[in-house]
Subunit: 374 residues, 2 copies
Amino acid sequence: MTEGSIGRVTPQRLAFDTPLALASGASLPHWELAYETYGTLNAARSNAILVCHALSGYHHVAGHYADDPKNVGWWDNMIGPGKPIDTNRFFVVGVNNLGGCHGSTGPSSINAATGQPWGADFPIVTVDDWVNAQARLADALGIETWAIVMGGSLGGMQALQWTIDLPERVRHALVIAAAPKLTAENIAFNDVARQAILTDPEFHGGNFYRHNVRPVRGLRLARMLGHITYLSDDQMAEKFGRKRRPSAGSYGFGVEFEIESYLHYQGDKFAGYFDANTYLLMTKALDYFDPADAFEGDLAAALARAKAKFFIASFTTDWRFSPARSREIVNALVRNKQSVSYAEITSPHGHDAFLMDDHYYHAMVAAYVRNIKT
Amino acid sequence: MTEGSIGRVTPQRLAFDTPLALASGASLPHWELAYETYGTLNAARSNAILVCHALSGYHHVAGHYADDPKNVGWWDNMIGPGKPIDTNRFFVVGVNNLGGCHGSTGPSSINAATGQPWGADFPIVTVDDWVNAQARLADALGIETWAIVMGGSLGGMQALQWTIDLPERVRHALVIAAAPKLTAENIAFNDVARQAILTDPEFHGGNFYRHNVRPVRGLRLARMLGHITYLSDDQMAEKFGRKRRPSAGSYGFGVEFEIESYLHYQGDKFAGYFDANTYLLMTKALDYFDPADAFEGDLAAALARAKAKFFIASFTTDWRFSPARSREIVNALVRNKQSVSYAEITSPHGHDAFLMDDHYYHAMVAAYVRNIKT
């Protein structure tokens, strides 16, 4: 397949003045969503794809910005002209979720009621809330039904929730490297990450903005820990093993092993720009996600209302959301006699594999998407 | 078998005035070891067992203290009259390692040169250093040759190192839930734990003692993270799953899931008494441990000098040091045609299984130990 980039893209923003009722009981009176679109919506409005992002993603999914050509979208290898999600055929929408820190209303946005950043007052948002907000964006864009709602990890959970909450509005769901709910171990890792942020003295109960500081230490630890769970043990062994930094000292607590250097680099980079409150909100949305909960834990019952066809993919070395977790979704759909394709992809890259340019993985997605009528 | 407790025990302490040369090149001029003994050394001095502790363990291995009857030794289920390590037959020695915080010389001890706690000036210690220090204790106790050197996790690594460094002085090594060296992922977890401590504002570069504070937040995070790696995913799922605290609020960042409550309890308890510098030292000793390194990575070559017979045990759900890691040791010994027994024990308890009172596990240890002549 031809693999071009969509090229220069421009972020957009839409303000909503109808309040959004949230799962928590709270309500957002005014809110904005940052989004991007690639390709052209056809006359029948039948070729629209919604791409949902994971914990640290946002609306910049493909292409690059005129004033920042190195800032390439996080799924640029998947989406573009001639790519598995072919922008010559489809109209693709990327959106930053509510609670985010990339342009959509979130804890670092100004709360009109106070003239100050929302901070700790920003309400907890759930995957359901995101689906509702994304549906309002779809309304505004004139998209009644998505050809596809798709995403990896937490993004895949949103795709799944779409099929349950708004079954008439999704024809296909691509649920990649996801799980129907978090395990105790998943929650435990999120908890440690949150505690790192919450106990950082510069967190100031979530209102660090007004102190002109940021809980950089906590955010850095959270991201370092996250990265351990994104990579596979095998890949870490191969990429870093026990290799030492050439310049490393010995018998001290400085950086010595290559893996330490990698984690510090990732942690520092992330802590430099990401909003700590957004990190808390995203991990909490993950913890809460459990569409089967309203059906006495019966995932098949929860999915029974879905009208979409499903493409589920997992990666062999993903231990954050292992293939077994994807198979829970597949099995529930099979039990319901719903349409589902499942790809368990051999990859050394752990959870991060869903972001990688893997030939077989992309070929599977491309083959599935090619058969979707627009 | 009869399972009695050794009962009341008394910690002891021995001061050494001959400097101890360390792997780092540093030297400890004066140092002390805290230790306990159970049972009676026989006339031939052939029934002595050294029990080495893991990251947070110490010399209080079995029994309880007169003034603190609830403080039962960490391996009391394994060691006592009629237990797998039968104190009616054996003379058992538990020791707190150098760098520890339970009585042996460590960062919180007073440095005679300054009259202040050692703090950041305490030298990095390695598993080799501990073996050397333990050998000096053996000399003082009149023990030329240990019937057994044993331990779990980092304790097992010390047992392994004993057989290589002082082959004439160990007849049997019981190496339980250990590994011949850490993987990149193991080091990564240690790194995050260390960074939590090192970046805690109350760490003060390791010299927090003089500020009358302790890096409680960092230590708490380190321990929470540690606990995730000590438990198995399955066991966490069974014990905690997605259960909520009865009193938990919703849609906030307080404790909500049972697993969070468990981790916070464990973290708070540990942070209340453990020394942060000791935690750093112990994790660094783990990272450095790699007896094959001096033999171009050939573990069999490293072990070739050992004269001990080996009992190696691992636990099926241990993902910190998985059975595959124990099998590396077994395979190296088999390649050398050395004597080795191996038990791969089915257990739901993850890495922590080595501390548990598991019938099959204890029966295997008991059977091996019963055949050891004293």
